[in-house]
């Protein structure tokens, strides 16, 4: 019996050797993770200011509920009461617990931005709910509700998007839209880590002895190029219309205002967004989530004509003396192609072609250019390519070439008629408002443009400027004389006797512009307007698109004019008084007032 017992004791000792001498490292590691909770300390995200230092995006403290997967997976009682208190779906709860691979003792985020009653209820029951923790995290706050598409929003990094954020982990708070995405790495800062010792019930005993906490590093602030006043005005002027406004400094590429309507309150994504709300926003026919200024695709209509004229001259397809006869319609075979002006412009040279926006001139010019030159020459202004603005998901637009036409209509199945159509900026040509603004900038500058951008400089948390925007300058490769000629023609749009926006003439400032109407097969036409001012020394270039606004001169141009006046410090009342005076003078002199016909 003694032998039997002794041999059992030997077996036990051998077992102890195996556990404590041979394989101790495995158990040592487990015992470390057992009692150590690595609590990530999310960094404070950088803020955003407008060009004049006015706060646009702020941080606001909120409470986040965390759970230790190892504890909650086993504890159905706690899980049930958590689900009840937070209203979280069970499947979502389980998904969140399992989302982050690795240490099952690392707390994961369960609910962000806990409403206060829930927080209070949880805090009350906390002693009976081992494995839950709270952390103060920030959510975004917007002192002035403005530019939601551009500023963007933040949220938890989901698994399916993880590879787009190589520096961050699933579950981290990251930028999900707008500037928050594009400048995510700058805004984010560095995570901190706190090492806590806990007991088996998940109760924090205190900081882990011997382990130093890593302090989180606050993210850097962005000083934007936006001018809050101008931005607010742009949004106000668009009002209930759908559309977009882009205003920029042509010489620097700094975007002063970039508005898209319809929009949504910027706080929508700041805290908890219910799936219903999300679905409602996503399925809204008016597409409020779409950033029309960079994603909206519109046939440019007549604003395309400066590019066409410059293309014709640069490629020497025409010279400055080239003229066409406009009778209001051009017969191509059996098919009539009409000018917007049914009465006809008469003999049209390049000046009248821009000033009066004669379609016949450009039908014939396009036909003379041919599809290949049409594509190569017009692409100089950046059509069909993204501008490179510091926002995600910019659309490239579409500038048809031979390849496209062959693909779209079949080889040799497309005719001069198609060419006619795209030559006046209709049909397949598509541009974004930001492209239009760049186009206006290039004309304003006399043949070059600067990549539009929204961030002027980056400041570290101490307020030191660490980076200044250095946007690229692009030469469009068109002779300066040609650009000068086109610019002068543009001036006639507001100053000439036949100008399509002459009623917007302001004696205080010379504004060069061009109206456009983009034909919309689905409904009423879209109104477009591009402009820059002052003519001699352009300070601002503007592009306006008003969906279903019908005519550029009536819906889009006034918005551009008001923005330009505001930016140049000119009031609207003076212009209005001037305008009334002109009308009164005309009446008094019995002069025939030209009807404000539906002009393009």
């Amino acid at each position: 019996m003694g032998v039997l017992i002794s041999s059992m004791f030997v077996v036990l000792s051998l077992r102890l050797i195996r556990l404590q001498v041979v394989h101790y490292d495995m158990y040592l590691r487990q015992s470390e993770t057992n009692r150590v909770r690595v609590l990530e300390q999310p960094p404070l995200r950088g803020l955003m200011y407008d060009r004049n230092g006015r706060l646009l995006v702020d941080n606001y403290p909120s409470y986040t509920l965390l759970g230790v997967p190892m504890m909650l997976e086993r504890d159905t009682a706690t899980r049930d009461s958590l689900l009840e208190l937070t209203g979280l779906e069970e499947s979502e709860f389980n998904r969140r617990l399992r989302r982050i691979p690795g240490n099952r003792y690392t707390p994961v985020r369960l609910v962000r931005d806990l409403p206060f009653p829930t927080l209070a209820a949880l805090e009350e029951r906390r002693a009976r709910m081992p494995g839950i923790m709270f952390r103060v995290e920030t959510k975004r706050a917007y002192p002035t509700p403005v530019a939601p598409h551009t500023l963007g929003h933040i949220g938890e990094l989901k698994e399916d998007a993880a590879e787009k954020y190589p520096n961050q982990q699933v579950g981290d708070i990251v930028g999900l839209a707008g500037l928050e995405v594009h400048w995510n790495d700058v805004l984010t800062g560095q995570k901190g880590f706190e090492y806590l010792e806990v007991d088996a019930l998940g109760r924090v005993v205190g900081p882990l002895p011997g382990a130093k906490a890593v302090q989180p590093q606050q993210g850097s602030d962005l000083i934007l190029t936006l001018d809050l006043d101008l931005q607010l005005r742009a949004e106000e002027l668009l009002g209930d219309f759908a559309g977009a406004v882009v205003a920029m400094q042509p010489a620097t590429g700094e975007v002063l205002a970039i508005a898209s309507k319809p929009d949504y309150p910027p706080e929508t994504f700041a805290g908890l967004l219910t799936p219903e709300e999300w679905r409602r926003l996503q399925e809204d026919e008016k597409t409020p989530l779409m950033h029309r200024a960079i994603q909206g695709l519109y046939p440019p209509g007549s604003i395309f004509k400066m590019s066409m004229l410059a293309s014709g001259l640069q490629s020497e397809t025409i010279n400055t003396t080239w003229k066409v006869q406009c009778n209001g319609v051009y017969q191509l075979g059996r098919r009539p192609f009409r000018c917007w002006n049914r009465r006809g412009h008469g003999e049209v040279d390049h000046q009248l072609a821009i000033e009066g926006s004669c379609d016949i001139f450009f039908y014939l010019l396009g036909n003379k250019l041919g599809i290949d030159k049409f594509h190569t020459e017009n692409s100089r202004f950046g059509f069909g390519k993204v501008t490179g603005i510091d926002l995600p998901h910019e659309s490239a637009g579409l500038l048809p070439g031979r390849e496209f036409m062959d693909r779209r209509y079949g080889e040799n199945r497309w005719t001069s008629g198609h060419l006619f159509n795209i030559s006046i900026g209709q049909g397949d040509v598509l541009v974004t408002p930001i492209q239009s603004a760049v186009y206006a900038s290039a004309l304003a500058n006399g043949g070059w443009w600067v990549t539009p951008h929204l961030v002027r400089e980056i400041r570290d948390p101490e307020g030191e400027v660490t980076q200044v925007a250095a946007p690229e300058r692009h030469e469009i490769g068109i002779d300066p004389e040609i650009i000068e000629l086109v610019r002068n023609d543009m001036m006639l749009v507001t100053e000439g006797a036949h100008g399509t926006a002459r009623w917007l003439y302001d004696p205080r400032i010379r504004i060069a512009g061009k109206t456009g109407t983009s034909q919309n097969p689905q409904g009423e036409d879209h109104a477009l307007f591009v402009a820059f001012a002052p003519f001699e020394d352009p300070q601002i270039a503007v592009a306006v698109v008003v969906e279903h606004g019908e005519h550029g001169s009536t819906a889009a141009a006034p918005i551009a004019m008001k923005l330009i006046r505001q930016y140049m410090g000119l009031d609207d009342e003076t212009w209005l008084r001037y305008r009334w005076k002109v009308i009164a003078d005309q009446r008094r002199s019995q002069a025939q007032i030209e009807p404000l016909e539906a002009t393009e």
């Binding site: 019996m1 017992i5 077992r15 404590q20 487990q30 086993r74």
Partner: protein, 401 residues
């Protein structure tokens, strides 16, 4: 038989004091963060136990002999009582005013006494099957009563101490195997591997012991039938009944999920490495990660804080204690005393082996306390009375030379 010279047994008390001291020290570490009152109560239990130890050591053997059956009957009554009015977390306690006792602990010792008395009575010819069956009945009553509490661990202790005493008392091995084999087969049939293993051992045993063929055939087919029928009978059980049976077989089925206790215990012991993390420095222990660390899993505390060295030292002292008991059992002239000492030794040996085996993960979790270390008055007092009796018997009945 003649009276030997009076000689005081001092090795046993010394080892006991050593183990008590270590036990209290370790228990302090295990409880001071959780509930220091556990430790305070244990100190009181130790105090009472030392008194009981001394009292038991001073009892004349004939008094013990005389009261052996009475004590046995009383403990059986208590076991019956606990089935109806049992309290506590597992329903194994008997409330007696301010404190409560665990009759199953007491029954271990009284069964030893009853068995020892029966076997040491010369009127009982142990070669007769009738007497062997009586012996089996003495063991079976507490075994069944404890098993249906349910407390499989303690009932197994009864089974084992019966085997040890019977073996020591000269019962033919063949008789023991015949009696125990149906139980063994029933238990083993839960798992096909263990069933094959047990049947294999039985066949081997039958062959070695030269059992006669007719008897062997009858026995073999009976045992085989039981083994074959048990799973079928289990199949008739409703799910909840089967669940109860699982609880019966693994009464400490862990509340946090499969193997949580075991994992934490192994992590604690393994992470203690050779020298241990230091007294009061074990993160598993102090963080409360060890389930039941003050009772069944106190050995994990030793392993974590005192390391391999501490664990082996504790095992070694237990081994010394058991060896010393067996030495005494061999030396004392009184068969009753000898059998009692063997019974006590087998209780301690079995509990230490199963407990340490359980905490290190080589034996199933059965919920047996580590003698003299685990918190609990009944267990402590029972073991101490047993050791006291052994000390007294070893002191008085030693032979010359």
């Amino acid at each position: 038989m003649r009276l030997g010279r009076r000689e005081i047994e001092w090795v046993l008390p010394l080892l006991v004091l050593l183990l008590l001291g270590m036990g209290a020290t370790v228990l302090f570490s295990a409880t001071h963060n959780l509930d220091i009152s556990i430790f305070n109560r244990q100190i009181i239990y130790i105090g009472i136990s030392v008194l009981l130890f001394t009292g038991a050591a001073l009892l004349p053997d004939r008094v013990v002999f005389a009261f052996a059956y009475v004590a046995y009957i009383v403990s059986l009554l208590l076991l019956l009582l606990v089935l109806f009015v049992g309290t506590g977390p597992t329903g194994r306690w008997l409330g007696l005013g301010a404190f409560h006792i665990q009759p199953s602990e007491l029954a271990k010792l009284t069964t030893v006494l009853a068995l020892a008395r029966f076997m040491s009575d010369r009127r009982n010819d142990l070669r007769l099957l009738k007497n062997i069956l009586y012996l089996a009945v003495i063991a079976a009553i507490p075994f069944v009563l404890i098993a249906i509490e349910p407390d499989l661990g303690t009932s197994l202790v009864i089974l084992l101490l019966t085997g040890a005493i019977a073996f020591w008392g000269g019962i033919p091995l063949i008789a023991m195997v015949l009696i125990l084999s149906p139980v063994a087969v029933m238990v083993a049939s839960i798992n096909p591997y263990s069933l094959v293993a047990v049947i294999g051992i039985l066949i081997l045993f039958a062959y070695v012991s030269g059992i006669r063929l007719p008897l062997g055939l009858i026995w073999g087919s009976a045992v085989g039938l039981i083994g074959a029928l048990t799973p079928t009978l289990l199949g008739y059980l409703k799910p909840y009944q089967r669940a109860r049976l699982t609880v019966f077989l693994n009464p400490e089925a862990d509340p946090l999920g499969s193997g949580y206790q075991l994992i934490q215990s192994k992590v604690a012991i393994g992470s203690g490495r050779f020298w241990g993390k230091g007294y009061l420095q074990g993160s598993q222990t102090q963080g409360g990660f060890l389930p039941e660390q003050q009772t069944d899993f106190i050995f994990s505390v030793i392993g974590e804080e005192l390391g391999f060295v501490g664990a082996v030292v504790v095992l070694f002292i237990f081994w010394l204690l058991i060896v010393r008991l067996l030495m005494l059992a061999r030396k004392v002239a009184n068969p009753f005393a000898s059998l009692t000492i063997v019974g006590v030794a087998s209780i301690i040996a079995f509990q230490v082996i199963v407990n340490v085996g359980m905490t290190t993960g080589i034996m199933p979790v059965t919920g047996l306390p580590l003698p003299l270390f685990s918190y609990g008055g009944s267990s402590m007092m029972t073991i101490m009375i047993g050791l006291g009796l052994a000390t007294g018997m070893g002191s008085r009945w030693r032979l010359h030379g």
